[in-house]
Symmetry: C2
Subunit: 287 residues, 2 copies
Amino acid sequence: MSLEILSRVRCFGGEQRRYQHHSHRLSCDMRVSVFLPPQALAADESVRLPVLYWLSGLTCTDENFVQKAGAQRIAAELGLIVVAPDTSPRGEGVARAAEGEWDLGLGAGFYVNATEAPWSVHYRMYDYILEELPALVEATLPIDGQRRAISGHSVGGHGALVLALRNPQRFRSVSAFAPIVAPSTCPWGNKAFTAYLGENREAWAQYDASLLLARHGCPLPLLLDQGDADAFLAVQLQPERLLEAAGQVGVTVDYRRREGYDHSYFYIASFIEEHLRFHAQHLAIQP
Amino acid sequence: MSLEILSRVRCFGGEQRRYQHHSHRLSCDMRVSVFLPPQALAADESVRLPVLYWLSGLTCTDENFVQKAGAQRIAAELGLIVVAPDTSPRGEGVARAAEGEWDLGLGAGFYVNATEAPWSVHYRMYDYILEELPALVEATLPIDGQRRAISGHSVGGHGALVLALRNPQRFRSVSAFAPIVAPSTCPWGNKAFTAYLGENREAWAQYDASLLLARHGCPLPLLLDQGDADAFLAVQLQPERLLEAAGQVGVTVDYRRREGYDHSYFYIASFIEEHLRFHAQHLAIQP
């Protein structure tokens, strides 16, 4: 199991790279994009840098964030490695939804370990992001495995929150742009969880950030970002559910509501700098 | 003739918009992307802001630069309107090259007025960019028509240079990323000029930045940007031809050669801030 490099392009003094590797968890080949800041290209092999794992949303691959968010500029300044995986297993033999369905199957793994056929063969994105991918990139690249942060957008924001809330010892901080915070009670989540997890509501609860936070609290810093002109706000995203749960258990959420912003990468690009600086603070990066 | 709005998205406090309009010059409907900085959204109708026209390269539409370059952040800070047109006429009845040819026809108008059949019916991008598009957007949006700059990438860099060198009174400054500076003597230019302009070499010379500069000099500030790991550098781009012409006629070119950078939008994103600040200086924008 190793990273095979597909491309490397100079960007803000660092390198935007794309790798391919075989995933045992997902039983398929996966692609992952990695930004290495200039500090990671230094000759000194003792350098170990903090890392941000970025999880993208529905229909995305590992490339959308890398091409559209403009995160490399700040990551280069901060000396932060950014790892952007794909959003589902891919390839021949991987189950897919019906033609035209973009909220299930390819590009829509929802960061869960599926238990139901036909999805359970490949769709184990929770384990992949939590264990297999970090083990691989942290063994290969100059990453300080003690300084991880996680963030994401939409379904990827859901993934980031769930991974951090269930494994707070693994991450220093978590942030999310327009995340699905209560998948058990929204149409996207209902559809995906029914397909991937069946009717077992306790299994659903293990992937529901609002329920997890209400049960276990949140010992790590949490930044929640939401545009108030987001077309998915009321029905799919429901940030108030996470905020209510946080209020009930006395957890402070750094909630930033953005007037007039929608669900697009133009929104993410506008505020990614704030998120990276938030994580930098908790990753002990000197300003 | 008017601008019909297709979309408007909040971005860095301003708005990224996309318009459609009928072009009389091109005899087809065209799309154009426009970034309005926060200053343009102010209620004060007397506000008139400087404008940058951005010309994209082969295979691009009006959207690539908007989604990938990250220019909105600086444009918002500077109060600069950015107009990004499409790269060729489009639509039913518009001549196109053979399947798989991406360096002629759709997405490859080369910013010339074609004189040869079948291209001459629609392919009049030079006139469109010089006259029709500015007249339209400057009548509709809060643009100060006395403060125009122009820039572009690859074939779009060629377009920016040719438009500025032939019409220095129209622009305050010009810059180009990895432009084709000598289309008469490179394969892309040879192919396109033969198709669009026929065998008349004097017609070619009117669209060749190095020849234009050698003949007429360059009375406006010119920034030339080039990555030295650009795969197209030696055969297609040949920046030394423009620099030689400039040396012969005593014109100063602000030449910035970037070590290790290629031809991609990762390269553009890395240096777009420098270009916008260069133009801001000549557009009399206060820092």
